[in-house]
Symmetry: C2
């Protein structure tokens, strides 16, 4: 077997990659995600796209190991989802349906877990077998790699790092209904929230005043030496460092990979997380390395391909 | 292969079990742990005990799958320990040394992780593949089972549940040097500490006054309807429930097993943990079941035997 496919289903587009089994990307492209009619066209559309690509490349089924799929929902070990927030699917046997459509073996996993697997295989966690990936986007997602495999758990809901409670005293609610979730402090939305609160607390001079503040503005101001921005990032780092210390004491990773839109702030971000992590970490975990994700939007297709290679 | 050995090395005694590979215990016994001279006799003593038992039972190496060993220290995937607090060992290649002594394949793991594996195989987690075991003893230990395997992590230090930080505001130090570790509230020592603090806070009437208070006294008083004891157990349950909710959101277990000396208080304990867990849990984890451990002191030998069966 020389090839495999990695498929990353999102709410707007489906990203697809054709890989050699050694990890080289042969081709990658996107198709729209047609969520109408309960998303009934999504899997047939993907199957058609894969068949076309095989025809174009002159490949037959005997040369392809199979298809890995990342899905924005919990996925159990049979490749079944119970519900999805933004694909239109209710209960769906993704693995079985896709195998029937394509005539090859299929593996499915949660998109955040799959992205972590991608970074382990071809990105910032290359060569590691125990890794945590945290994705700081609109929300906070994540994946935990244990001995080379993504921790999926009993319901495929493992690795929901964004809903670790890091502040039992919080009074505002997270989108999930709990209070004090990491996502309330470390997502792009969370950083904006911290910034607004800090700015409202007094009238200390800051470049952040007088505009619609967001996470990027905060990091830009930090880089320009703004004291208030530094206080905000310090608070962000305290919560995230605390959460990572608690995660490390149970998962004992060799490396923690930070990805997602917020991580575009660059290396400066890592210092604020790492400083707080080291203060809170159990002695066995003090040397855990922090690195930025490398694969960007390709992490999903890479990890999906890795999933089918086992 | 019909048989295997499970060995649980403690600071005072080594527990040994001869198992059929289907999980039946054929025989179990103990030998002293000779920690003098850097513990150099420990592995040879075990090898001799195993050989004697095989002779007694008329077994030869072809009938035995191997030897699993649980060790009170982090153990890496090569079966190497860097240091032990109470066996006298420094760096020791346990797997390699024991294989040379016994002429069979050997697997080694951390004792708490191995005990969790035992409860999954033959005890309270039977039939489960994703499980957390918490051992409430003098300290708080634990093991996390992911897809049927113990989470060992990069340094064999995975599953150190007792050192999850559950109270960032704590001012007293845990034995590990951090502040606010679960162990400071949920171990036998921790419960005693909570009790002393509560009793000192005011002079509300309680059966716990005027004696040397300990965890057992607290639970006995609770069962007798003592209000102050209930407040103490409520606080214990709040911290433990909070920690389990944070663990569940990342490990997504189907069941959480509570063991160790403190769990001898019985079923009444589970209610206080579960109530607080449900309040704090992520929606996908609300149905996680809480059960008492079943194997008691045999969990270690059972899990060690399971370890060698892969």
């Amino acid at each position: 077997m020389e090839y495999c496919f990695g498929v990353d289903i999102g709410g707007t587009t489906v990203k697809i990659g054709l890989f050699q089994t050694d990890g080289r990307i042969v081709d990658k492209w996107e198709i729209p995600t047609r969520v109408e009619n309960k998303g009934e066209a999504i899997l047939p559309d993907i199957a058609e796209a894969l068949k076309k690509k095989m025809e174009e490349k002159g490949l037959d089924n005997s040369q392809v190991s199979g298809v890995g799929i990342g899905i924005p929902a919990p996925v159990d070990e049979e490749g079944v989802v119970q519900n999805t927030a933004n694909l239109g699917w209710g209960y769906k046997e993704v693995k079985r349906e896709m195998e029937a459509l394509i005539g090859m073996s299929v593996a499915a996993g949660n998109d955040a877990n799959v992205a972590a697997l991608g970074e382990m295989w071809l990105g910032a966690g290359k060569g590691q077998k125990n890794m945590i990936m945290v994705t700081l986007g609109t929300g906070v997602g994540g994946g935990i790699i244990v001995n080379g495999q993504a921790l999926a758990g009993a319901h495929g809901a493992g690795g929901e790092i964004g809903h670790l409670c890091v502040n039992p005293e919080e009074t505002e609610c997270c989108g999930c209904g709990k209070k004090g979730c990491l996502e309330q402090y470390a997502s792009a939305t969370g950083i904006t929230r911290l910034a607004k609160k800090r700015l409202a607390a007094d009238d200390k001079d800051s470049a952040l005043r007088g505009k619609e503040v967001n996470a990027k503005e905060v990091f830009d101001a930090l880089k320009a030496g703004d004291d208030v921005a530094e206080e905000i990032v310090e608070e962000f780092g305290a919560y995230l460092g605390h959460a990572m210390a608690n995660l490390a004491v149970v998962a004992d990773p060799s490396v923690i990979v930070i990805g997602g839109g917020v991580s575009k702030a660059g290396e400066i971000l890592l210092g604020y997380i790492e400083k707080n992590f080291k203060e809170k970490a159990f002695f066995a975990n003090k040397d855990t390395e922090f690195v930025l994700a490398k694969l960007g939007n390709d992490a999903g297709i890479c990890g999906a391909a890795r999933l089918i290679l086992g």
